[in-house]
Amino acid sequence: MTLLQDIGALAEIYDVAIVGAGPAGMAAAVTARAQGLSVVVLDRGFAAGGQIYRGLGNSPLAGRRDLLGPDYWKGEALLDDFLGCGADALHQASVWYLDASRCLGVSQGGAARIIAPRHVILATGAMERPMPIPGWDLPGVMTAGAAQILLKTSALVASDAVLVGDGPLLWLLAAQYLAAGVPPKALITTTPRRRLAQVAGAIPGFLASPYAAKGLALLWRVRRQVRVLDGSGGVEIRQHAGRLQVRHHGGAEEIGADHVLLHQGVVPEVNLARAAGCPMVWQATSGCWAPQVDAWGNTGLTGIAVAGDGAGIRGAEAAAVAGRLAAREATRALGVITGAVRDAQSAADIRALRRLQRGRDFLDRLFAPSPSQRAGSPEAMACRCEEVTGATLRRAVAETRAAGPNQLKAYTRCGMGPCQGRLCGLTVGEVLAQHQGRSPAEVGYFRLRPPVFPLSLAEMASMPTLEEEEGRANRP
């Protein structure tokens, strides 16, 4: 890998531009390079790894490998391959524009450029599902993923923390805090109690999956050592005397804490794919949007693929496999190998993906937030940026008969802030869907326009004109 120092060091033309250096992006780069393609990886992080392998190359916890667990360190082999693969990499770079003709806008270090790669693989990964409960916007309330990032990169552990929500990541965080010797004060699960019985049919499939043994052991370890309060709906957080107070089970008890760490699953981070115009599909089981892709990650736009959790949540290992598949397909599309060669090279990966898919259905269904959890509480901030509450949203839906998210955005400003709807879009869709008795698929989503990340005036002004870019490209 060649680390590019600034945006000016980007070459004029690449065979493949990969957005994101998590498992899917790294694996795609390694595979595309092995086929002889020129590759650039554009990544928002400080170094390769994405969020799941964040800080892997220089973790302060390298001397305490037990703490983060084996799944984290498993990423080292892939990271090593990536660092040695010969791709260009530009970190701390935001890709804020992409269109169907594969013009790609990137900014870094206060400067911006448009490049035109021959093929694009989006490996933008996942983000945590918004969890609009009252008080989720208070200082001291963060996502479980945020707490994990602090642990991986700065060896910071929140003491006096209450964990709220459900899903593998929340339990993993509890286990990591236990291993660090700083157990959480309590873990309040929010999955409805009846859920396990409802998804019982998927249990045999799960037990045969690679996740079962690991997951159950972890669950058992946490349950033995942490106070777990099961099945609470209506969790509320308020600030009192400089501390956070967590009410649960309809006010049955209030727990004081310095930190509250929230999690109700992860969803694909799809703003770039959506703004580029990739056709999207609603994934009903997991309750999220994803770009429509085929087995190779091809979207509806020629030469633009999506690999990894950004195309639907399947986890880090599956993301790496999907990255390799997308890279081989890019190689085929660019005329370097035939379809038959691509298929032959990919047979083992396709089998691996099938194995990794086993058991996911159970996890998706077990931990899926209920409709009311997805729509959020009326008392909670639905849109954190513009400070629009769930109640305001519902009033606007009822009074204005807004047909879709875009009208609602115009009426309430919900979704107009710098996060570009990432933390309210799913909530808005659910509120509308439930009011109108339709599915979120029918309601649709915000129309996103570039830039998908805010661009400063200085960055815009720094952009070379089209003539200058063409001049560069035509230079021998």
Binding site: F46, M127, P139, M142, S154, A180, D258, E387
Partner: protein, 98 residues
């Protein structure tokens, strides 16, 4: 409070916070360094003027905005702490782009 697992041995990085001397560790983002010092809030929100602090730590929520070396509205979670940085919490209402 955030507790720093003690055995990690990173270099200390001096910076100033609202003009006063402060310290973080090599590898910290600005947001992480402030959290480690106990500053859970780093700004007041633009609309309601209420306290906000880092929420996602991965560049998506924009609740970690601070002033760094005279430049406002920088995402603390996407900025690595460097020695000598002058960091200010963003008090009061401040519209984005201001």
């Amino acid at each position: 409070m955030f507790r720093r697992l003690s055995d990690t041995g990173e270099a200390m990085l001096p910076f100033t916070l609202d003009g006063l001397p402060a310290e973080g560790r090599a590898g910290d983002t600005v947001a992480a360094a402030l959290l480690a010092l106990g500053h859970l809030a780093c700004r007041h929100s633009a609309v309601g003027g209420v306290e906000r602090g880092p929420y996602c730590m991965m560049g998506l929520c924009f609740d970690c905005l601070v002033e760094i070396d005279g430049q406002g509205n920088r995402q603390g979670c996407l900025t690595l702490l460097r020695p000598g940085m002058a960091i200010r919490l963003q008090p009061g209402r401040r519209a984005l782009g201001q």
